[in-house]
Symmetry: C2
Subunit: 479 residues, 2 copies
């Protein structure tokens, strides 16, 4: 639902969001750009400029996958620079920059670019657990990020695995080591039901900002509810200074919008704590289940979930977040269905060979060798983007040649990140945005009609009718 909501369903809430007193408004980037052009026929740059106009007093914030930008491969540095420049020009203020492997080399260029355009660069620690991940390790990572010139840090818990005590310990250790004035934001999902407590402990340890979502869009695999956080801090030494009347308006607005997007909502509505074991984000488990069912192996889910931590160990304990979660998860499925490492996916082979960057732990040499043999590619130690040739000019040329492309850098970036989707989007763009939300009543009636096959015959349907002993050929069509 986070990626499917139409801009027009958000605009009426912007004045309240702008005045509610948030430190920043995360409103762009992540998977939303992709969804805009793929499903909504909406230009993400128009969306950004709209937010800029409607929320003049707010810091606009985005999630940026480091050297991957918002795409699924590494880009040459000039593309990274251009993306940051254009997004800043269009109104972005705060860049939360992360790398799925916590390899700082993959965020260095983006952070430098953000600093050059004088915007807020937030270095991100992807939180995960493994025998190698320690509080001191996170402090070291924090120091490396601050050394790159970050304005703040984010402790990002994408899978709701951050428990209260580690939240406290990590935030406290970073503040103790790097100084109390190092700004730390904490980002937790709500899936496991425990992370509002983690936010409390993070705040007690000195966290400066924590992420929430308005209650009517909160919980499940989303975030903890803003209003609950406000109430949580009542009578403590901490306060949010948020405007509660504004929060109620925002809540009411999205409570009305939400039912239009039921079809895009996660099946997880309560809490899911079994993911502490596999560390696979909740949403992915259902994907895996359907992958397995398609292979006639629907009964193997437990086996796959048990295999995931082993695959993760072989790969050097990467955090599981886009794209590493998919890469590790799919290899675990292959291992269970075809035998361990009998077949490597192309992406898993690349991960083993260093083409996504460095992992904290050593990667299993035997599987690295298998990857080398299967792909005929050599393992690398350098920053993956160092292997890339300049590509901006070529991307511009290709983009400009597309029907409907407008010659702007923004269009080149759209094409660069989503070369498979951009051509259709540019062509269809003049038709304007598509609102994929549906009137719940209408959906219900449609489902009923489908399920029950009810309603009058539409036809034409051919019948053989025997009337008074005589056969007739009858065609019926509604008029």
């Amino acid at each position: 639902m986070a990626t499917r909501m139409a801009l027009e369903d958000m605009v009426d809430a912007c004045a309240d969001i702008d005045a509610a007193g948030f430190w920043s408004v995360e409103c762009w980037g992540g998977a939303t750009y992709d969804a805009c052009i793929r499903f909504l026929n909406e230009d993400p740059w128009v969306r950004l400029r709209t937010f800029r106009e409607l929320m003049p007093n707010s810091r606009l914030q985005m999630l940026l996958r480091g050297q991957n930008l918002l795409g699924y491969r590494h880009y040459q540095d000039e593309v990274v620079n251009r993306f940051v420049e254009k997004s800043a020009e269009n109104g972005m203020d705060v860049y939360r920059v992360f790398d799925a492997l916590n390899d700082v080399r993959n965020v260095r260029q983006a952070i430098a670019a953000v600093r050059r355009v004088d915007k807020h660069a937030q270095g991100t620690i992807c939180y995960t657990e493994s025998p190698l991940h320690t509080v001191q390790g996170y402090v070291d990572l924090a120091r490396q990020l601050m050394d790159l010139g970050c304005d703040s840090l984010c402790l990002k818990d994408m899978a709701a695995l951050l428990k209260p005590q580690p939240a406290y310990d990590i935030v406290k250790a970073i503040k103790d080591d790097l100084g109390q004035d190092v700004r730390i934001h904490v980002h937790c999902h709500a899936t496991t039901g425990v992370t509002l407590v983690s936010l409390m402990k993070a705040i007690e340890a000195g966290a400066d900002v924590v992420d929430t979502a308005i209650s009517s869009l909160s919980l499940g695999p989303g975030h903890n509810p803003t209003e609950s956080l406000v109430e949580m801090l009542d009578q403590t030494p901490y306060t949010t200074d948020l405007d509660e009347a504004r929060l109620i308006s925002i809540k009411d607005h999205f409570a009305k919008v939400r039912p239009r997007y039921t079809q895009f909502m996660s099946a997880i509505t309560g809490v899911e704590t079994e993911i502490f074991e596999s560390q696979i984000p909740g949403g992915m488990i259902s994907n895996m289940e359907s992958q397995l069912r398609q292979q006639g192996a629907g009964d193997k889910l437990k086996e796959v979930l048990a295999e995931v931590p082993r695959v993760r160990a072989v790969a050097g304990y990467p955090p599981l977040v886009t794209p590493s979660s998919q890469i590790v998860g799919t290899q675990a499925v292959f291992n269970v269905l075809m035998g361990r490492y009998k077949v490597l996916t192309a992406e898993f082979a690349d991960l083993m060979l260093g083409y996504y960057g460095a992992t904290l732990g050593e990667r299993d040499p035997e599987i690295v060798e298998a990857a080398r043999v299967q792909t005929k590619k050599e393992p690398i130690e350098v920053r993956p983007a160092d292997l890339l040739e300049p590509e901006w000019a070529k991307l511009r040329e290709e983009a400009d040649a597309l029907e409907g492309a407008d010659g702007s850098d923004e269009d080149v970036l759209t094409y660069a990140m989503f070369p498979g989707v951009a051509p259709n989007f540019f062509k269809a763009r003049p038709d304007g945005p598509v609102n994929v939300g549906r009137d719940p009543a209408e959906v219900a009636v449609e489902q009923q009609n489908q399920a029950a096959g009810s309603g009058p015959v539409k036809g034409p349907i051919r019948y053989s009718v025997s009337m008074d002993g005589k056969d007739h050929h009858v065609t019926v069509e509604r008029v």
Copy 2:
């Protein structure tokens, strides 16, 4: 749903619950007794004995409304004694005894009875907020309860209003004042989304036991999820020692059962924080809304919610819990619809006159006088039950006269508490329990048929029918 689930849908989980390591299993009392005989044609005493048999290693726990037992009026002391004796005999171990007004005189008899049968007496503090309610006030109440000989205390937050800091302050103050070995249980609902944090702070302050529900039956107006609590304490100095494999089995069991009871589930699935203002439990707000709509005053809800705290002040700031929540809420509706205190409900008049017991604050003398005039009853200062004549013999006589009554004390108690429902129940009892759960697929088809009016065409519908090459205009209508 908590009151509508059939015993047969619970029994398969009992072995796991019994072995999971809970301090106690709350499984009887509260509103479940009423629902058993009203909706399920199930003898609550059979249910209790079944639990006793299926969970031999567990402390069985119940909620008891003090001098009201499980009914809606005050009972003479002998009835209270009999109830406690019979329930202990049938297997009850832990009695959580509360009074809606926190009037200890109303729990004294029940607690003494529990002590006499050598079971665990838990004195309950109903948590509420008002200008008169202070931490010290709760400590004083705790001391009074312990002075009655309670084995433990419960801080009961029936409306999810207990925020983290007050949770910490109250538990800590009670422990500091009465001793660290005073056992404190904390019971919070989850409605406002903030109370898992309150449980954390209560534990840090020394709480011994906290209440949860298995995740597949948790959240909304229910309780916080057990599994999340277990994870919350990981790496802290606290642990639950619960068996996680058993928890998963219990979760899976009720995840399968839950869809059968969708029709009985609360509309509140996310969080609701606006209730901090009115203190009206979430479930009651929807009741009020429908009350108001029936009076053609559906637009007055906000006015009523604003009136509730004023009515509560006039009544001396009672906590809002069954039955005080209904009494105060309904009077607020009357005030808005008919003018302030133009008409008093019989129950509100009784509350003002002291017939439910004493409130912490003074009751508004003007309204007390109005209640006196309207009801022609005098205000009282004594414990309400002191005004009652012995009634056991009469209750037995009336119960024994009912068709289907079996002459047992248990049947007398059922009749005593639910004189309106018991006669039908005794008559129908031989037919055995009714499972009101429904196959979700079956419910869906039924709703579809109703909504779409499917099945055969009703018409009139016009068709163009071609028969043997010749066109006809045909109108079809069901007759």
